[in-house]
């Protein structure tokens, strides 16, 4: 398991129904691309987060399939639109099988 993986998410506390708002996510991860070589000329094996998904009350907002060309500490910014209060869940899947999750509550007022 990659070390010191810490997801961070920014979601507004409240939103207006039917109005799009911005979500930002960042997760600390080395994202080893599998292209680099170590001092002895051996390829360093790939170790990245290969999938990200954001869901709200079980419905999908966005999914992303990541490749080795994504920078260290993958960052995403996207918009969501909701009609009721609930919980956003964020899921990151690591190459080594680990799953990192975070969740944020939001109220529609």
């Amino acid at each position: 398991m990659a070390e010191n993986v810490k997801p961070r998410v920014r979601v507004p506390r409240s939103a207006t129904a039917g109005e799009a708002f911005e979500i930002k996510t960042l997760i600390s991860h080395i994202m080893e691309s599998g292209q680099r070589k170590d001092g002895d000329g051996n390829t360093i094996p790939r170790s990245i987060i290969n999938h990200f998904s954001c869901d709200f009350n079980g419905e999908n907002v966005i999914q992303a399939t990541l490749e080795g060309s994504i920078s260290t500490n993958p960052y995403f910014q996207f918009d969501a639109v909701i009609s009721e209060s609930g919980t956003f869940t964020f899921t990151w899947n690591d190459d080594d099988g680990s799953v990192y999750t975070d969740s944020k509550d939001i109220t529609v007022g």
Partner: protein
Amino acid sequence: MQFTRRDTLVMGAGAAVASFMPLQAFADATDDQIMAFAAGAEVTDGGVELTAPEIAENGNTVPISVSAPGAVAVLILAPGNPLPRVIEFNFGALAGSQSASTRCRLAGTQEVMALAKMADGSVKRTSALVKVTIGGCGG
């Protein structure tokens, strides 16, 4: 062995072809990705917007954002990278807009490409030239 003027020219041409080979291989990989993403649909220009810096000083973190109103999926390709695929976004029912931003690695100066698959199955394409000062793919 003596080289005539003609021999030298032929060898020069051969060397030029050889030096373009890896680039050609990258291009083929990119075409494969485009074909796989388009799934038989015709790829047309426009209808998708790709925002990338004109000059990226550090190829390790190049901020890119893509916006494609009406798209269900967006694929970003960097044809100059060892592996052209960068990221594929799939927009769900609750996506507020068909746009997203992230940061990517670029091996060198190249045309970054964005492909958007629309709800009706058509595929749109756009590209943006990014000049990279220091490449970001290591060794």
